[in-house]
């Protein structure tokens, strides 16, 4: 701001101060505040304003919706976890069946081999006796 602007600016500031001088709203205003305070203190206990703040917050529709969402999310999560456990148990059972089958096949093969060996031994014993 240069020196030439100082006076017009001062005049503007003075005019602003004069224009924005506080105005009193009057005795009616004070009475209205008193009446509203009295009304607030006379509210029945069942009025929502009388509900403790924490409870009022809890009963707010948004709070209830949030709580319902959390319950649904927990339930869905629990169900998914159960499903995952069931699938895992089924995979373990199938693996056990596969291993058991392989073991049985291996035992069957071994048993067959042992039978062959036993038959050959018996043939040798017969041949030795005949000699």
């Amino acid at each position: 701001m240069n020196a030439g602007d100082a006076k017009p600016m001062e005049r503007l500031e003075r005019a602003l101060q004069a224009s924005l001088r506080p105005v009193d709203p009057g005795a009616e205003f004070t009475a209205a505040v008193q009446a509203r305070l009295a009304a607030a203190s006379l509210r029945p206990l069942v009025h929502p304003a009388a509900v403790p703040a924490s409870r009022a917050r809890w009963l707010h529709p948004l709070s209830l919706a949030l709580a319902a969402s959390i319950v649904v999310a927990v339930a869905v999560g629990w169900q998914l976890q159960e499903l995952r456990l069931l699938r895992h148990a089924e995979q373990v059972r199938l693996e056990q069946v596969r291993v058991k089958t392989q073991l049985l096949v291996a035992l069957e093969i071994t048993s067959e081999r042992l039978g062959q060996v036993q038959r050959r031994l018996e043939q040798y014993q017969l041949q030795e006796k005949s000699l």
Binding site: R11, A15, L20, P22, P25, F29, A32, V33
Partner: protein
């Protein structure tokens, strides 16, 4: 905006001649539950609170409701306030933020209106000096966006310095200074005839 947090360092402020011992006494008594002391506190601050809301919203009905709401809030908050000076800053801050919130909720500024139309809407007040100039200035102020308007009103109605305005509006001090400078330049450009 939340009016409940006060970042202003009250201890660093100079003594306020408007806050006398009687008001200090009323504050202490009101805080202890004396209803008549609270009414005296309301009387002491009501012109300041009502005028802030009136200058910011431009409507008497809105200003009365905002000011009354502010005093009801004050009644609920008294136990959290430390002094009569704290009360003054609390009510200024609260009514200013509530007025700005209302203006934003209204989501319209009378920028599209002519000055003549706006003059018809500006409440008539008893004023010394040049009533037409004062009324015109108040109407022109309503053309400013809410934050620059609040800065000017706090500066020239409440006589707050930029530091206090910054604390009241939660703005950086340089932003406040910038709003002040630009708003005054803008007002000067409106072609209003100022008395010499």
């Amino acid at each position: 905006m939340s009016p409940t947090s006060l970042t202003l360092d009250l201890a660093s402020l100079p003594a306020d001649p408007l806050i006398g011992q009687a008001v200090d006494g009323d504050f202490a008594a009101a805080r202890a539950g004396d209803a008549s002391a609270f009414v005296r506190l309301v009387r002491h601050h009501q012109a300041r609170v009502f005028s802030l809301a009136l200058r910011l919203t431009g409507r008497r009905e809105d200003a009365e409701e905002l000011a009354q709401d502010t005093f009801l809030g004050l009644h609920a908050q008294l136990r959290n306030l430390d002094s009569a000076l704290h009360v003054r800053h609390w009510v200024c801050r609260t009514v200013t933020h509530r007025s700005i919130d209302l203006l934003r909720a209204r989501a319209r500024r009378p920028q599209g209106q002519s000055l003549d139309q706006m003059l018809l809407e500006v409440p008539v007040e008893d004023a010394s000096g040049d009533p037409l100039l004062h009324r015109t200035l108040r109407a022109v102020l309503l053309r400013l966006p809410e934050i620059p308007r609040a800065v000017l009103v706090l500066r020239y109605q409440e006589d707050l310095d930029p530091l206090d305005i910054a604390a009241t509006l939660d703005l950086p001090i340089n932003t406040v200074k910038s709003h002040l400078r630009r708003s005054l330049d803008w007002l000067r450009g409106q072609g209003l005839e100022m008395p010499r």
